[in-house]
Each structure stands twice: as structure tokens, then as C-alpha cells.
Symmetry: D2
Subunit: 369 residues, 4 copies
């Protein structure tokens, strides 16, 4: 392995009597694992910055689109009105929680590995722990209770976190892709940057970044399964688990880092069509107001009656066309504020208050850094 | 779904005018998710107790076996002497860290879900957030910034944690299985409880619990990959992701809980053969002392010379038999304390100090509960 | 294990001198594995029938909808015209290939397991192989070259096949879900069967079966990873791998069987809206004809010029509205058959011929049964 | 994408009027997928050769070690005698079956992809299928019923096969690692090639190749889960699934190819210690003969009595030492051929006949190529 050659060259470089003390009591894995931790510390600093960047971009969008009314969709069907601002707030919070989780796992992960050939610090007599504290302090890493060469829960925990980050972005990406469909057209990630690459189909605006975020999430979820398998190491060192880490973790780190960059770029150039959102809301002939109508009518009649009335009116609209509010007015003399009911923006519930809560949670946590 | 029927019955039970306010503004998923959280709270209390139990058992073993010298094995090969106490300390620490992680994730997970049909609390006008605080307080759950019906990072984080727990036990189980092999025979999990179930092979002591722990770890690692895929929910509710949770999370919880019970039982009835451990150490004709010899000789000669000498002596032993110490004495006049070198127990480095560190870390954290 | 008790009872039932010959030379796993194979044979017969049923339903739809023009969509964007018939033909062929694969794997899977405690048929002296042929013939199973108790490739191959089946259905389900979106509305799986279960949102037609097919595919893909891990069995029997099979394979079989039933039901009650398909095609203001226009113009001018012209016209339509054909006519005097170009049905290429090829491939293969 | 630039350069290279016909009616994915198939054809030829090589090496070992008696181990415990030849035969057969599977899947996989932008061959009028037959013939690939750009079952099936190959090798690797343990020492993969790389522990013979085979199996099993997820493509092309293929399939191909090379190398330099195998058999004081004794005694007494007698004798040996045969002789006057019973080689059942069956199955199948 590379460490053996490195040690030989380093020892020659040091030379003389001192040279023989190079690598005294350490094993190759001590060097590789500690180097990995140092690399991860740098990578996590970059990733944390990018998370902050995406959080910042989403916070701006959430605030700016408080009044951008659109259809909430459950199980691929228009359900109720919501706002694009609340949607952004929804994308935001898992990343806020991931920021907190990162602060929690860092002290477990960023520790030196130093145990010698079998984790006993055998070659250092009684001085093992004291010697271990040296590189820890030198490298500004924590000093773990025990060498962790075969107890890889810190590494595996990091993998889980990386997949949680890409999963959060994957949900954002999936939504972005669905909103960019030709028939929906509520957002466009390609605005300003050319519309896809098809020479014969210039009308297309391929949601390439949204798809990349979903693929990143699915890839990391896949690799995470393998990384967790790698926790089962044999005795005081197992070659299988270690190789499984090499084959999964680096890709997971890169995928998370790249995913965050892509998400930031997507949000920066995102074109949001408030008019298309409003048109789509109306496209269903007021049917999306069915729940609003039910609750509005429930003030004037027992709720089961209100539900039955709305169901009847909705069926009429689905069968013969027209607008739900008109179909209701023709069926009841209840003193409902029909004008207000007709406006989806009047049935947004706590959208605004929820956005405020999300923005408050998104503020940097002074304890988390 | 069950919730619809439940609500209908509950409404009828309440009756009268009050009945129509039952489930007002809530959606089925609000009930199911909040119920899930309540179930998880109970399950996690049980799991936490079992973790403490396993930690306790391992701490006792780590302390009791400080002096039980055995072979450390790297890549399935005897490497250096270690102690069974240190091995137990190694199994112990990931669980200690998992206890800490549980304390950290609990406030993220144990929150009420209440958002109505699309997460806007639409039917509650301006009172949505205030109403949400009601069941949270009533149920002693946290009140999240936003409904989390499509932001499942809390659930997925729990899955990762469960797999981290079973992975930690899987490493213990794998070691136990390997140590119980006929040719190793250093531990026996079946002592006192009958030796396996074979009627024609009474000599067998199948390590059924150790194998079960490995299987639990591999199963949860597998299911975790699917649970992370489930984070990609569409819009304001996706049926695919939710079904994927149902197909993975309950099994993961049960597997972790059962794994901990099995581990506790394994440790309780574990028979440790200190004599077999010592015999196995010697079985290699002192070859396991090669590193000890190298460092002992390095005091008297340059380290490369010491390494070459040990290599030469080891080859002789591997080819022609004999004991490494004798082969060395025949090759050098260095004033090594041969008697001390011959004793594996004199090359245990920091085993004891490391066990102390592990036991200190294992003490219950008053902040973690 | 259950086998031990079963053997004891069966032996008592047989009684007398003959009783002692019961289970002579067999081991529990022989019984369990052979029983598994018998169960799988029955399950596969059911699954094969259901595959034929789905193939049949898709063949009918493919033929019936040769003329149902709709938008082909690449990367979630309308691309070119196609037909719903070709879409059904696409869903059809993987199942046809799965039928063939099943015929190929059956002789490898449907074999007796009989090896005794370690796969040597030790207790049967020289008669082992002859005795093995007995139950094979009796049960109408193949007689494998060797006992396969630790060589599980036949089982794992079956798991791969099951996931290939559910994956094929998952693609169908994903398409069905996307086509059923409120804004697309080209198919409706809920027609005739009530529209979802929401009491307050009667307008919704939740694509519950489509989602279930996607979930089935993702679940089996997840479990398959674990089943392949189980192929690594230790020595002449490993408990871990065997337990991993138990935790994955039964669910995979049930999921495939249920998925096929659901797919058959989905196709049976599927409502296809040819008018909505045609409307959606036109919704893009003729932009979906961009490629058709390019090739039509390429007859009259160099292809790069044609591409540039179409791109320019498409941009005009996207910016200022209008129809692509009009925008082109305003920009060229080429003698294109504009009337024909305006009709998406005139740019269907080989849709019909491809459907014929698919239907020919779907005919039952007399060699496959 | 690279295809766009390639087409532009190729078109310029062709030049003139002919240039505009370059790529006429094809889409980038047609080129990429067909190129993938050509690469896979080459890779599979190499992989098939290596499978033959490993099969050949195992056949030689199976035949050569018919008489090399060793312990069969179930659940990590010595169970019965077997031969190393039968063990090799066991490793052999899954690869023989994989060879057959490869022959079966090849015609499904090795087909041209040609469908144009949406799989309708739109730009080629009525000539689409005829044109598709051209490159198929030219490239000596099959011509599929339909373009398969979004029906990826052929690719996914290949992935399953690759993981089946590495899984078969992983079982071999796991066994090799276990047999090479210090305390077992029955095989040594490092003979002749230097013993591991540890400078301070020259006694170690790290089973690096065996571990690499297990890691290869676990990695491919992991990636396979992701590849099966990729089967769920949206509509007429989905970016997510395609990217998931890129992130998994190439590694799987390389891992399978490398695994086979490693396995061939392992088998070539494998040192088998028949004496250590025999010693380990005896190490258990004849306990491994318990089943043999039971059946030998069953000729002279009812089988339950024989079982009870052997159990009693075995307990005595486990508690107080001695050899099982002596303990039995002291407890019965039955006229058992004690001399014969004492020899593990007399209780090998059908080992030889089974090896013959495996070798017959391993002969090249003239129909399979």
C-alpha cells in the first residue's frame, strides 16, 4: 500500500537516528484513516458552506413568494391552494436540520486514529495514550476513547448524513422536475441558459438539474446500503469492510457536494411563473376549492350536509363543466361569501405563519458552528 | 384507510354538535404520522433501555477480562496479543455513541404532524399554528416549524440510527461467530443452554445468536437503502415513498429491538475460555510475538536490522518449526529480556488504559436522557 | 426448527421398524429447501398466468390504440407525437422477455435439495445419488449435479427475475401516474371505481394502483440487494445468508404476484382519454411538430438551414404565441405540405409497424412452457 | 453531450450532400446505447473466457483433491468429513450455470438501439424498421422488436448476472479466507508470492485475494439494487434512470472482470495443506465422527438408542477428553468395525460420485456458445 512507500521515503528524508522513530508504533491504517478524517474535515467545510448557500437561496425564495399562489398536489393530483413560498420553506427545513446534525456528528467523526497494528498501541509501552494525544492536538482533531479502526460507526454515520442531504435535495429536484413538465410549466430551470441541447426539438426545456438531484439522491441511497454492510468488520481489522468503504464513501461525498452546487445553481436561475401557477389553479374549474367550499358551508349547515353538497356539485362540474362555485350557488341559499370563496388566495390557512417559522429556524445557529 | 373509518366511529361516539368538529382541519396522514411518532417514542424507550443493558454487560466483561490475554487478529490472521477486555471495550463504544445520537435525534423525531390536506392548515383560518400546539402539548410531543408530511428526514434519520445500532451489534456478532469456530473455540455462546439442535452431531455448538446479529445488521442495511429512496416524495404527498416506509421501517425497528435482546442474552450466557485463548496465542510458535521482538531488538540495533533479524527467524520457524524466541536467541547476542519477551502478556501496550477510557465513556450521560 | 418436530411426529406416525428409516441421511435444510422449491413452483405457475394476463391486456390495448395520437415525452417534456398503442407495446415487451427468462431459469430452480448434514450424502454409503433421484422423480423436480444448500445462485437468480418483473410493472406504473396528473389527465385508473377516498376533495382521482406498482418495484429492488448479499455463505452451511433469504425472498414473491394482479386490474379499468391526449398535443402551439418541420423542410433546403429556421420560428412562438406552422410559413416559401405537417398523426413514423412487431413477439412461445 | 460534437465532426468529415444524412433520424441515445452494447459484447467475451478459465482451474482441483479429506463445516462448526475436491466442485457449479445464463441473455442484450427522438423512428417515414435492420446487420447485432431506450430490462438483467458471477466468487472467497485463518491454516493463497506486506509481522499471510472477492460480491450486490431502481424510467426517456445506470453498470462490469482474474490467480497459486486438513479433522477428538458413529451403530440397535449412545459418549469426550471411538467402545458391545469408523475417509458418502457429476456438468456446452 501507498503508506509503506511513503513511510520509507519519509524515513529516508528524516535520516539518521531520528529516522528510525518515524512511524514507530503506528500502522498503515492509522495513517490512512487519519488522512481520511482530515480530508473529510475539509470536504465537510465546503459542504457546510454550500448547505448555507442553498438554505439562504431557499429562504429568499420562501419570503419572496409568500403571495405566489399555486396548487398543492397530493398523490400527483391538485388538492388545495398553497403558495410557492411555503413549498420553498418545505425544501428548506430538512437542510436546516442537516446543518444541526452535522454539528452533532463532527466531534464523533473528526478524531485521530492511532492504535498500532492491532489497536493496543503495543509498541509504545505505557505511553500509548499520551502519544496518541500528540497528533490529535497537532492536527486539531479529537482524541477518541479508543482507536476506531474496526469500529466504523463514525464513518457510517457520516454516510447516512450525506444521503440525508442528497435525499433532501432529491425531493426538491423531483418537485422541480414535475413543476417544469410541459403541461405544468410553473417553473423553468433552463431560463437564460439555453433550452436543453436538442437541435431538432428547440421547444424542449429539459430539467437536467432537477433530474441530476434525483439521481444523486438515489445513488447515495444505494451506496449507503453498501456502506452500512461495511460496518461488520472482522476482529481487529477486516479487509472486506474497508474496501467497501473505499468503493462507496468517496462517491457519496462528491455526490453530496456536487448536488449542493447544482441545487444552488438551480435556485439561482430558477424562473417562477406566477401566472402559470394561477392559471393551473383555475384550470380545474374551481374544483380545487372543494375543501374550502366544504368548510365555508359547514358554518351554515351540518358538515356531512356540506360535504354531500360539495360532492354533488363537483360531480356536476366534472361531468358537465362549469365552475364549482356556480354549481354550489345553484344548489344552496346559504349566505356564503361566494366572491371570497372563488379566490384561492383566501384559502391559504397558515401559509404565511408557517413560512415565518421556517425562516426563523433557518437563521444560523450560533451554537452549531 | 383505517383512519377514515376510525374518524367516522369516533365522530358518532362524540355525537351532537361537537361531533362535526372531530378531525376538523386534519387529514388522515396527520393521524397516522402522529400515531407513528407515539409508537416510535415507546419503541425507542424500550430500545434505549436495551442499549443500556448491553452497554452494562459489555462494561462488566471489559473490566473482568482485563487480564484475559488473547490473539488480536487482523485480516483473519493472528497479529499481536491483546485482551478480551479490550475487545469488549471495542464492542461497547459504538453503542455509547449511539446512545448519544439517540438523544440528539429525539427532538427532531418526536414532534406532532398536523397540516391538513396539503400542509397549509387551510381549514383553520388564522388559528392553524395555535391549534397545532394543542395536540403537541397534549401528547407531550414537540411542535415542528412546519408540517413534515413530505419532508421525512426525521424518519429516515431514525432508520439510519437503527441500522447503526444493528451494525454495531453485527460486528460483535461476527466476532463472536469467528471466536466460536471449532478450531478457535475461545468463546461458546451455547454453554449451559444445550449445544445446538443437531441430533446426529452432538459435538456442534452452533453460534446461532452471533449469526442472528450479523443477519440483523445485513437486513437493516438492506432496508435502509430503500428507506432513503423513500425520501424523494412528490409535491405535498407521495404514495410511493410512504408505502416504502411502511415496508421497511417497522421491520427495522423490530430488528433493532430484537437484536439488542439477543445481544444481551448472548453476553449473559457467554462462556469465555481464557485457557483456549492462551493456547491459541502460543499455537503459532511465538510468531505472534514478531512485532514485540522487533521493537525489543530495536533498542539494541537499528530498526531495519531488527526487522530483518525477526523476519529471518520467523521464516525459520515457519519452515522448520521451533519457537520464535529461540530462533532469535540463536541469531543475536543482544541483551534482550528473553523471558519477558516470551510472555504475550508483556506486550499489551495500553490495553488497560484504553479499557479505562471506554468505561469512563460508557458511564450514563446525565445530559443524554 | 419446525423440521425436527415434524420428523419426530412423522416417524412416530410411521412407527415400527420402518420409522427409523424416516429422514435417514437427510438434514433439516434438505426438507426446508425442497419444500421451498415446491412452493416456488406453485407460486411461479400463478405468476406466469398473471404475466400472460397482463401481456394479453396490453396486447389488446396496443392494438386498439394504434390511432390514439398522443405526446411522446422525453425528460418530462413533450418531444414528438406517438400513439398510446406504441406506449402499450413498450410496456408489453419486457414482460414477454420475462416470460422467456422464466422458462430458462425454471430447470435450474426446480430441483430437489438432498445432501445430508454436509452435502456429501454421507449416511447413504454408495447409494446417495440413487436415493437423491427418488424424491426428485417423486416430486417431479430435477435432480441437480450437486446438493445446492450453500450454492444459492438458483434462488438469487429467481429474486433477480422477480425484481425484473416488478421493475417492468414499475415503469408502467410510473407512466400511468404521470399520465393521470390533473394537468395531463390522459388516463384515469379510477374510472368507474369511485375517485379516491377523500371526503373533502371529491375532485381527486388518486392513481393508487400506479403508485403501488412503483412502490412494488422499488421495494423488490431494495430487497434484491440483500438477497444477493446472501449468496456469500460460509463453508457447508451459513446461518446468516439463509436468514437473509427468509427476510427477503417471500416478500419479493408476494410483491411480484400482487403487482401483476394490480397491473391487470389497472389495465382492465383504465380509462383512456383520446381527446385529452390530442388536446395536450396541441397545447404547445404546434411546438411538438418542430422535428417534423425540420425534416419536412430538409427536403427543400440544407438541413442546417432547416434547423435554424425551425429554431427561429419556435422562439417566436414561445415568445409571442401563435402556431409553429404559421410562424414557419411566414418565414419560408418552401413548398411544404403545411396541411399535412399541421397534423401530428402524419409524423408517427413506424408506430404501426413497431406495434405489429411487439404483438408478434407477444404471441405465446410454444417452446417456453 | 459527446454525441452532439461527434456527429458535428463526423458530418463535416463526410461533407457535401451526404453529410446532411449523417445521424438522420437517430437520437444521441441511439448512438450511446448501441455503443454500450458493442462495449458490453467485448467485455462479455473477456468475462466468458475468464469464467471458462476459473471453471477449468476448479475442475482440475476438484479432480486432484478427491482424496483430500477435510472437515465440512456448517454454521462455522466442524460437522462431518468431506473432501477438498467436493468443495471445489461446489464452487464450480454456479459458474457453470452462469455460463449457461450468459448464453441465454446474450440475444436479448446484444441488439441495436435505434428509435429516433422518441422511439417512433419518426424521421424515416415508412422505412424506419428497414433502416433499423441496417446497422443491426452491419454491427452483427440483433434487431429488437422495438427500440428499448426506456425498457431497460436487458441492461438490468445483465447487472443481475454480473452480481450472480461475483456472488459465486464471493462464496469461494469467503471460504478461502476462512480456511486460511491462522487457526485453520488449510490453504494459503500467498504461497510463493510473499506473505502479505507487514514489515513487523512477517508471520502473517493475509488472504487479500479472498477478501477482494468477498468485497467484489458485496459491492456488486449493492450496486445492483440501484440498477434495478433505474428500471423505472419516465415516459419515452428519463434522465434519472439513465444516470443511475452510468453510476452503477460500468463498475459492475469491471468488478466482475477483475473478480474473475483474481479468482483465477488465487486458484493458480493456491497452496492446499492436506496434512493440516487431516490434523484439523482429528483435532476434535473424533467428535466429527459422531454422525458416522450413529449410523454405524444403527445397524446394531434402534436408531434412537444409537443417537443416545453417541450423545452420551460425545459429552464424555467434551468433558473429560479422549477419543469418541474409545468412549463408544467402552459403552457398547456392538460389533461395529471400529477401525473403519475411526477413519474419516470411510465416511465420505457420495463425494466422488458428486465430483464426477460436477465435472460432467462443467464440460463446455456446445449449444451454449
Amino acid at each position: 500500500m501507498a503508506v509503506i512507500d511513503f513511510v520509507a521515503q519519509f524515513r529516508a528524508h528524516v535520516g539518521g537516528d531520528a529516522g528510525q522513530w518515524v512511524h514507530w508504533g503506528a500502522t498503515s491504517q492509522d495513517i490512512v484513516d487519519t488522512a481520511l478524517v482530515l480530508q473529510l474535515r475539509d470536504a465537510l467545510a465546503m459542504i457546510a458552506d454550500r448547505i448555507d448557500q442553498v438554505i439562504g437561496a431557499l429562504a429568499v425564495l420562501a419570503d419572496a413568494h409568500r403571495g405566489t399562489v399555486m396548487a398543492a398536489r397530493t398523490r400527483y393530483q391538485q388538492a388545495l391552494p398553497t403558495t410557492f413560498g411555503l413549498k420553498c420553506a418545505g425544501w428548506l427545513l430538512p437542510l436546516v436540520r442537516c446543518r444541526k446534525r452535522l454539528a452533532e456528528l463532527r466531534p464523533r467523526l473528526l478524531v485521530v486514529q492511532f492504535g498500532g497494528a492491532a489497536g493496543t498501541l503495543a509498541a509504545l509501552g505505557d505511553d500509548g495514550v499520551t502519544v496518541m494525544e500528540g497528533p490529535a492536538a497537532e492536527l486539531d482533531l479529537g482524541c477518541p476513547p479508543l482507536p476506531w479502526h474496526t469500529q466504523r460507526d463514525g464513518i457510517v454515520e457520516l454516510g447516512s448524513w450525506l444521503s440525508l442531504v442528497t435525499g433532501s435535495l432529491g425531493k426538491l429536484g423531483q418537485d422541480a422536475v414535475l413543476l417544469a413538465q410541459t403541461e405544468v410549466g410553473e417553473i423553468d430551470e433552463s431560463a437564460g441558459g439555453g433550452r436543453g441541447g436538442s437541435s431538432t426539438m428547440p421547444q424542449k426545456a429539459n430539467p437536467v438539474t432537477g433530474e441530476a438531484l434525483v439521481a444523486a439522491a438515489r445513488l447515495n441511497a444505494t451506496l449507503l446500503g453498501g456502506l452500512h454492510q461495511a460496518q461488520i468488520q472482522e476482529h481487529e481489522r477486516g479487509g472486506v469492510g474497508w474496501q467497501m468503504e473505499w468503493a462507496t464513501l468517496p462517491t457519496m461525498v462528491v455526490t453530496a457536494g456536487a448536488g449542493l452546487s447544482k441545487a444552488a445553481a438551480l435556485l439561482e436561475r430558477l424562473s417562477v411563473s406566477a401566472s402559470r401557477m394561477r392559471d393551473n389553479l383555475g384550470a380545474a374549474d374551481g374544483l380545487i376549492l372543494a375543501e374550502a367550499a366544504t368548510f365555508a358551508l359547514s358554518v351554515h349547515m351540518p358538515r356531512p350536509d356540506a360535504q354531500a353538497l360539495v360532492k354533488c356539485a363537483a360531480r356536476s362540474v366534472m361531468g358537465e363543466g362549469g365552475h364549482l362555485v356556480d354549481a354550489l350557488r345553484a344548489r344552496t341559499s346559504a349566505a356564503v361569501d361566494w366572491q371570497r370563496l372563488r379566490d384561492p388566495a383566501s384559502y391559504l390557512g397558515s401559509c404565511d405563519a408557517l413560512i415565518d417559522r421556517a425562516l426563523a429556524a433557518a437563521k444560523p445557529d450560533p451554537l452549531a458552528s
